[in-house]
């Protein structure tokens, strides 16, 4: 009974993702790129949500796991002949080893998880502001190293020659894996324990929950999902390290915050809504037609709109547009008189 009533909680985000993918198959190839991008963003924001949403701790680190996943999947799938030309500084091992599409995605998720675990081991002791700053430092280090280290990737250049295997179905399946994993996690005892520490740290500790361990678990899972998202993304378009730093961190955080950082539905709805707005204004930098009206906006409008929305939601409705609640069907309410009676008899 209880399980059945909870089904819509999982179905709502899953159906939203599926609807996005199906709609994406119907539209023109030009519009399709935006739908693909949205599905990858869903994966990233859900990864963000798994840690931030369940633990209530701020983390800027997720994008560094996305970057690492992208680097892993990218370097391991560029055809060997092309590697020597586009990434001449690559280490010998990486130069001579290649894997297929699915294997590269699994390895990307693995790399994200291992990196997150390694980073989380010392950092998950921190909370609040310290956690925010420390994870920001992790992001800074990742960006700095990936920018200059030519032995592990293309450095400042964009990835070229990565097989573009992320079509609509691969993107949708990737996003669905993230959504289902996130939901499964938050329904396990581990997810519930972490949520308990979020609500009341002292009470959770008194009940014997190790905040450190639960946070570390969520952080690692978040790293795995972020790595997978990075892998999906690098198989979609030629990524560049500059696109995996502050702006992406800001955009994905805005999606989570606006949607409602406390629920999986919030993460998915926030991504779909904000990435729609974002894509619209990005496209509008080269004129879009809206009802026969030519709209052209200067570069930067998309980011500005997202920033204003994010600040407004933080100030006016901190729980986000979903109120940080999962989806549930409206329940039949017991009449008040019944309740009164029940109360009187107990």
């Amino acid at each position: 009974m209880n399980q059945a009533r909870r089904l819509p909680e999982l179905l709502a985000p899953v159906l939203l993702v599926l609807a996005t993918a199906l709609l994406g198959l119907e539209v023109s190839p030009y519009l399709q790129t935006y739908f693909l991008d949205t599905l990858v963003k869903v994966a990233i924001v859900v990864a963000l949500y798994v840690f931030i949403g369940n633990s209530g701790v701020l983390s800027f680190g997720t994008i560094s796991f996305v970057a690492l996943g992208a680097w892993t999947a990218g370097v391991l799938t560029v055809p060997e002949g092309q590697k020597k030309i586009t990434m001449p500084g690559l280490s010998h091992f990486l130069l001579s080893h290649n894997v297929g599409n699915v294997a590269s995605l699994v390895l990307a998720a693995g790399a994200g998880a291992v990196f997150a675990l390694a980073v989380g081991l010392p950092l998950m002791r921190l909370s609040g502001l310290a956690a925010g700053i420390a994870t920001f430092a992790v992001l800074g280090i990742t960006y700095n190293v990936l920018t200059y280290e030519q032995r592990i990737g293309p450095g400042l250049n964009s990835f070229s020659g990565v097989p573009q295997t992320t079509g609509m179905w691969q993107a949708a399946i990737g996003a669905l894996i993230c959504v289902v994993a996130a939901y499964a996690y938050q329904r396990t005892r581990f997810g519930r324990m972490l949520r308990a520490t979020r609500e009341d740290h002292a009470a959770a500790a008194a009940a014997g929950i190790s905040t450190y361990r639960q946070r570390l678990l969520a952080f690692t899972l978040s790293g795995a999902l972020a790595g997978l998202a990075g892998g999906l993304w690098v198989h979609l378009l030629p990524l560049q390290v500059g696109g995996l730093y502050l702006t992406l961190t800001f955009i994905t955080l805005a999606m989570l915050v606006v949607g409602g950082s406390g629920s999986l539905l919030g993460a998915v709805v926030g991504t779909l809504a904000l990435n729609g707005i974002y894509s619209f204004f990005t496209a509008a930098t080269n004129t879009v037609d809206v009802l026969g009206w030519h709209l052209k906006v200067p570069a930067g409008t998309a980011e500005m709109v997202l920033g204003v929305l994010m600040a407004a939601v933080l100030i006016l409705r901190p729980a986000g547009i979903t109120g940080s609640r999962e989806f549930s069907l409206p329940r039949r309410r017991r009449p008040v008189a019944d309740l009164e009676k029940a109360r009187a008899t107990t």
Partner: protein
């Protein structure tokens, strides 16, 4: 002697001191607001950017230097007060992490407004370029801006220290940053203290913007953004809660950047940011209160 041994020339040393001074000003500006509001202002660099654009306009309109500097201060101050009223005050009761995210959003809004208004090339603020010329001090050529920045930073910091220790306003501010609630109970007026801190922080941003605009006269939408990140790291290194440790932290980061950037080949100095970020992580783990503070970390309260 030591300088020669380490292969550091006087001009490099002076430039490093100057960069340290500018970073120290930014650090104390961020630290002051953090003290009273528990707010880490990620948008601080964007405030400076607005001031630098004001300087660029002063340059374009042919204003005398003192007037365009005044204009710069005016823009930064108005923007600081506006941000305080629109964003910081409504969020005052939220956790520091939420406020950090909010200032992150504000930084992006300001940055992209600048991008919309002035494009990706921005504007040039060249009228203070005369300060780039060197002074001849006993055969050593040191750029004027280095000396001006060092002196200005020192004067500002001394004035601020006097304000904090010798005036009632300063006393209130220090009290508020020790324990806001108790300070209020004892008659410190919250809004006035916060307003004061925001104003002083804005003024410091203006001064830092003028100095930095001489070093980097091409003002774009991301102007001062990397510096802000390093200063934030420096402030955390030193200790966010107190002005002097925060200043020292900011100064050491700037000085290290200037010095190591000056003497190391670029193949080594390119990883400098990584070392600084790593140092911040280590400090947060080992001494969460900062390097330059005394006493034990406060026990986590339940």
């Amino acid at each position: 002697m030591i300088l020669a041994f380490l292969n550091i020339t006087w001009p490099v040393f002076a430039d490093a001191l100057a960069l340290g001074g500018i970073f120290a000003l930014m650090a104390v500006g961020i630290g002051l607001v953090f003290g009273v509001l528990r707010l880490v202002n990620f948008a601080y660099g964007q405030l400076m950017m607005a001031g630098a654009f004001a300087l660029a306009y002063g340059d374009q309109w042919g204003l005398p230097n003192w007037l365009s500097i005044l204009f710069c201060f005016g823009v930064v101050l108005v923007l600081s007060v506006l941000l305080d009223h629109l964003v910081f005050r409504p969020l005052r009761m939220h956790s520091p992490a939420v406020m950090l995210v909010a200032t992150f959003a504000v930084a992006f809004v300001l940055q992209n407004i600048a991008l919309i208004a002035w494009g990706s090339f921005g504007k040039t603020a060249g009228s203070l370029g005369v300060w780039q010329a060197p002074w001849d001090i006993h055969g050593v050529y040191i750029r004027k801006i280095a000396i001006i920045a060092i002196v200005t930073a020192a004067v500002c910091l001394v004035l601020l220290q006097l304000l904090l220790t010798r005036t009632p306003v300063g006393l209130h501010m220090r009290a508020a940053s020790m324990d806001f609630r108790t300070a209020r109970l004892l008659g410190v007026r919250a809004n006035r203290v916060i307003g004061g801190a925001v104003l002083i922080s804005g003024l410091l941003a203006g001064v830092a913007a003028v100095m930095l605009s001489v070093e980097q006269p091409q003002i774009t939408s991301t102007w001062a953004l990397p510096e802000t990140i390093y200063v934030l790291m420096g402030v955390v290194l030193g200790g966010l809660n107190r002005p002097i440790p925060a200043t020292l932290g900011g100064f050491s980061i700037g000085f290290a950047f200037g010095l190591l950037g000056g003497i190391l080949p670029s193949s080594q100095s390119q990883y400098l940011p990584s070392f600084i970020f790593a140092a911040v992580i280590v400090v947060l783990l080992v001494r969460p209160n900062g390097l330059f503070t005394r006493g034990a970390a406060p026990v986590e309260r339940v």
